[in-house]
Symmetry: D2
Subunit: 339 residues, 4 copies
C-alpha cells in the first residue's frame, strides 16, 4: 500500500515536540487570561526580535490576528486596500467586515498577489475625496504572498513610504512570515526585520509553522495595543488559559525554532521546485508551489501517493511544512520531472 505523501497544506501539520513540552510545562497554575508569567514576556521578546518597541499579543487564529490589527488602522467608515486575491478578501469568511464594523476591503492588483505603490495608486487615486466614496485608511499585504512570493526589503520600504505619504497605515498578514523571513536570510533578527520592513502591525503566524493554536498580533504602536487588548476580549479571543498560547510562541522564539522550521519547509519546497522547471507558475520564495499540471498528470501523481489540491483546472498547489519528509519532497520533485 502506498504511504501518503502530504503536500496539501501546512495548516494541518503536527505540532512541534518542543511546543508540546512547553505547553505541558505551563500546566502549573498561574494567573488566568494574559496575566501569567509567560504572556508577560511577549512584548519584550518581540521588541528584541524586531529591534523596535512593540506589543505582542497571542490570539488563536490568523484571521483574528489580521482583523484585530487592522482595527487599529481603519475606521468603520474607511477602507483597507488589499490584493484582489488576499486571504482577508478571499478566505476569511467576511471576518474583516465583522471586526471592522463594515469597513470596506478595496481590491488592488499586482503580480504574484503582491501589491506595489503603483498598483495601489491605480486603485486609490481615482477615489474622489468626498463623503460619497469610501476613503482608504490602510493597506494590507501578505508576507509571503498568497502565491508564495516574498516582498523584498526594498519593496517593503517603497510601500511604507507610499503609505506614509498617503496617510495609510500598513499591516502585514504574516501567516507565512517565517517562510518569507527564512527566504530573505540572515540571523533571526536580521530575517525578521528584513521581512517586516516598517509595517505598523503584523500578524506573525506560528500555526502553519508547527504551532497548535497561537499566532501573535504585533503592534508597533503601544497605544494601539491597549485598544486591541479590549477588542480581543470583546471578540471572545481572550482565552483564560492563555499561558498555553504564550508557551507555544515562546517555544517558537527560543533558539529561533520559528526560523529553523521555516527553513526546513522552504528547503523542501526548493527540493520539489527543482523538478518543476517551466511548469512553475510563480517563483518559489517560501513553501508553496503552483505548478502547471494537466488533470491526467495530477492523477498520476496522486496514484503515487502524493496528496495536494488542484489549483483551477490546469495546475496544482503543493505546500511543504516544517515536518515534510525530505524523501517525500525529493520524490515529488522527481515525479514531476518525470511527467
Amino acid at each position: 500500500m502506498t504511504v501518503l505523501k502530504p503536500f496539501l497544506s501546512d495548516n494541518a501539520a503536527a505540532v512541534h515536540p518542543k511546543l508540546w513540552e512547553a505547553m505541558r510545562a505551563a500546566d502549573e497554575s498561574d494567573s488566568p487570561y494574559d496575566g501569567d508569567r509567560l504572556s508577560a514576556e511577549l512584548d519584550a521578546r518581540f521588541s528584541a526580535l524586531f529591534g523596535r518597541e512593540c506589543a505582542g499579543l497571542w490570539v488563536a487564529t490568523g484571521t483574528a490576528a489580521n482583523c484585530l490589527a487592522l482595527g487599529t488602522l481603519v475606521q468603520p467608515h474607511g477602507g483597507v486596500v488589499c490584493h484582489r486575491e488576499a486571504h482577508i478578501e478571499v478566505d476569511e469568511g467576511g471576518a474583516p467586515g465583522f471586526f471592522l464594523h463594515g469597513a470596506k476591503l478595496m481590491l488592488a492588483d499586482g503580480e504574484g498577489a503582491k501589491l506595489t505603490p503603483e498598483g495601489i495608486a491605480a486603485l486609490v487615486d481615482p477615489i474622489r475625496n468626498d463623503v460619497h466614496q469610501v476613503q482608504p485608511h490602510a493597506i494590507a499585504i501578505t508576507q509571503a504572498s498568497e502565491y508564495g512570493r516574498t516582498y523584498t526589503p526594498e519593496e517593503l520600504a517603497a510601500l511604507g513610504a507610499f503609505g506614509k505619504e498617503r496617510g495609510l497605515g500598513l499591516h502585514m498578514d504574516g501567516a507565512r512570515f517565517a517562510n518569507a523571513a527564512a527566504f530573505l536570510g540572515g540571523s533571526a533578527q536580521e530575517a525578521a526585520r528584513a521581512a517586516s520592513g516598517a509595517v505598523d502591525s503584523l500578524a506573525f503566524g506560528f500555526i502553519k509553522n508547527g504551532g497548535m493554536g497561537a499566532e501573535a498580533v504585533i503592534l508597533f504602536d503601544p497605544e494601539a495595543a491597549t485598544q486591541v487588548r479590549y477588542r480581543r476580549k470583546r471578540a471572545g479571543h481572550l482565552q483564560c488559559k492563555g499561558r498555553y498560547l504564550a508557551a507555544q510562541i515562546l517555544a517558537m522564539l527560543d533558539g529561533d525554532l520559528w526560523l529553523a522550521n521555516a527553513r526546513a519547509a522552504n528547503a523542501a519546497a526548493q527540493e520539489v521546485a527543482a523538478g518543476c522547471g517551466a511548469r512553475l507558475m510563480h517563483p518559489v520564495e517560501a513553501n508553496e508551489l503552483f505548478v502547471r499540471l494537466s488533470p491526467a498528470e495530477r492523477e498520476g501523481l496522486r496514484a503515487q501517493g502524493f496528496a495536494f489540491y488542484d489549483w483551477g483546472t490546469d495546475s496544482a498547489r503543493f505546500v511543504t511544512a516544517w515536518n515534510t519528509r525530505a524523501e517525500d519532497a525529493a520524490a515529488l520533485g522527481k515525479a514531476i520531472a518525470a511527467l
Copy 2:
C-alpha cells in the same frame, strides 16, 4: 514556606492528563478546520448525551460560545434578557454588543443571579410593542449561576414554557454546566438532560473543568448550526487545527470524565462549605462559595496560604476545581470554621 492553596478560580487550573494524551494522539495529520475525524464525531456524541438531535461545535472560549449561540436567537434590533449580574453583561467586555451587532442586553433581577418567569415578566411586560423600544428576542441564563446556584429541572421547565409563550429563545451559558449537572445527580445522560432542560442552545463549558481551550456550542436547531459555522469562521474562531479542540472535548466525554471532574470540584466545595455555616451568602450548588469574611479574617486565611478573591468589602469568593486537593479543601473549611 507556606505552599499555596489555590481557590482563586477554576479557569486557570491545569489541563487534565487525559486531555493531553488525546491532544498528542491527534498530532497525526488530518483535514484542517473541522473537517477532521474527531470534529466529525461531535454532533453524534452530543446528540446521544442530550437525547435529542443537536449540533456540537468547538470554539476556544465561553464568551465566543455564548455569543455565537445567542446570534441564532436574536436579531440585531432585538434584545437578550439576562440577569443584571450575568457574565455576558458584566464580564465579557461587551462581546454581545459586538457579536450581536448591537443587540441590547436587557437586565432582569432574580435571587442568586437566577432568572424566573416572574422576574423576566417584570422587565419585559412594560415594554411597549412599538418600534421605539427594543423588543426582547431571547433569554440567557447561566447554569450554574454566577453565584454558584443551579437551576432545577422544574425551574428550567418553567423558563422554557415562559419563553415559548412569549416567543423568546432560551440560551444557557454553561461555563460551569458540568458542575450544575453533577449537583443534580444521576448518570451522565440524566444529569446533562436535567441540567439543560429544553434550552435552544447551550455553551457547554470544558475549560474550567480541566480543558485547555475548547468549549462546545450546542445547538438544538440544526439550521442554526449552519449559520453558526459561517459565523464562527467570520469571528476568527475557526481554528485550522481544530482537531486538537475536538480531541479535548471527546476526551471529556469519554468515560464521562466531564462529570467526574465536576463531581470532584463540587465535593471539594462541599468540604469547604461544611466549615462556613452561616457565613455562606448563597447555597453551594456547584463549585463556588461566597463567604462573609471581614478584611481581617481574609488576611488571616491568606496568611495560611489560601489564595482567593475578595468579593466586595466584606466577603470572599472561593472556587474549587477538578484538581483541588482534598486536603486543601478540608483545611480551608477548618480554617474558616476556626475564625
Copy 3:
C-alpha cells in the same frame, strides 16, 4: 362638538410659517447634498451663537443627531453613561447599538432624569479597569431632561469638570434644548451658552420647536466634524436636497425664532402649571408637565377635549408646543385646578 385641545406632544406640531417660506425660497437650483449656499452658512452661524468654534451639520432626526455625535466620543468597545430613563436608552429603538457598533449604554440614576457627578461616579467607580468590563468613554445628558428639568450652568460645569477629570466626553441630547435655554433666560447667545455649558457635542433640536425634519449636530471639535460628515453619509442621512434642511435651521436662527418659539411653549406650560399645584411630579422647567391624575380625572379632562398621554397608572404627561393656543393652556390649567 368639542374642539380638540392637543397636549400630546410637541413632536407632531405644525411647521412654523417662516420655515415654509424659507424652504420655498430654497427651491432655486443649487448644489446637492451639503454643498449649497445655505448649508455652508451653518458652521459660522452656530459658532457665533455659541461663542466658540463649532461645526453644525443638519440631519433629519434627533436619534440620528445623538448617535452621530456620540460616535465621536465613544469607541465600539466602550460605553456611554446615560440616565436610566434617557431617550437614547428607552426610546430610540436601539439606535445607539447600531450607530456605535455595539458600544454599551451604561445606566446611571438621578432625580428628574438628570445626571450628577455623584450618580455617574456611583456607576463607574466600581468598574474594574480591565478588559473584561466595558469602560465608559462618554456621558450623555438630556437638556431639558426627559422629565422637563433643566440643567443649570453650575450643574453643567460640574458635569464638564467631572468628565474632563475622568476622560469622558460629554454629549447633550438637546431635543428640547431651546426650551431649556428659554427657561434659563437671557439673549439668544446668553441662553444658548448657559444651556450648553462646555459640552463636546450637542444635538440641537428644531423639530419639536416648529421645524419639519431638521436637527443640528453641533460638534465643538472640528476634526470630529470631518468624521461625522462621512458617517452621516454612511448612515443614509446625507439628503441630496439638504438645502431644505439648512433652510429650516437658518430660519430658526434668524431673529432668534428658535428662542421665541420655545418661550411660547414654556409660557403655555407655566400657564398649565399654575393650575396643578401639588399634583406636579416635577418642577416645570421647560414645556413638559407630569401631573398626578387618577384615571377618573384623566377621563374627565379628556371629556373636555384635552388630548394627552397617560403616564403610568396615576399620572399624565402634558406637552406644550410653539403653537399651543394660550386659551387652551389657560383652560387646561383651570380644568386641572377645578378637579
Copy 4:
C-alpha cells in the same frame, strides 16, 4: 449675461408645486411618526400600483431605502451581488457595510452597468460552498442603471428566475425607477409592473423626480416590513413628522404625477440625444446621457451656459429633470450637433 442651463443632476432640482401644496396641507396636527392618516395609506396605494401585496415605507434617502431593503435579504455573514459600478458600491459611502453589519458587496460585470444571469453566475459559481468564502444571499440591480439603461421585463424575468434558482433575493435600486417605467411605457400600473418585474424589494425614488426628501421602501414580503419598521427607527430614519414625507409620496402617486414627471425628463433627454449621434456612449433609456466630448468641446458648451459634469477625461454626463426647460434641452442637442 448667459443664463445657466442646468444638466448637472436631477438630484438638486426644485420640488414640484403639487408636493408643496400637499405638504402644507399636512400641517394640521396628526399622530407622530408613521401613525398619521397619510402614512397609513401607503401600503394600499403601492399594492394597487404594483398589483400585488406590498408594504410601502417612507424614508428620507435612497441610500437608506436601499440598505433597509437589502437588510431583509442578506445576513451579515452573506453577500450582495451588485454591479461593479452600482451606486451602492461606488457612491453610498459604505452605507451597505454599516446597515448590513459588514455583509459584503460582491462585484459583477455587465454592459451598461446592468447585471445578467451570466454575469452573476461568472462571479458566484467559482465561490466554494464552504465557510471560508462569503456566500451570496441577494442580488441588487439598479433600474434605470447607473448608465441610464433600463432593464426590460424579459431581462427582469430572467434575473428573477436566476435568483429563485440560486436562492438569492432580488432588490432593485429604483432611484430613477420612474424614468425606467416611463421608458417602458403604458399606464402607470403597466409601467410600474413592467419596470419592477418580480423583485423582492424596491427602493422607489421620488426625490430625483420632483420630491424633497422622501423615497419609498417597497417590500413585497409583509413580514419583512415588520422588521424594516424596527430597523428604520434603529437607523434614526423614523421622522416624527412623517406625514410630510407621506404627503410627498401621495402627491406623486395622485394622478400619476410620478410618471408624468419622468416622461418630461425622459423627453428632454431624447431631445438632447437627438443631437448626439455617434457621440452617445450608451443608449438613452431614461434621463441620463453619457456623451463623448473632448475637453475643448466641453469648454465650448460651458461657455454657452450649459452646466454638466465631466465623465472621465473624454466625455460628459448630462442629466435632465422633471423641470428641464424644453428650450434648454433643444439648445443642448443643437449645440452638441454643431460641434
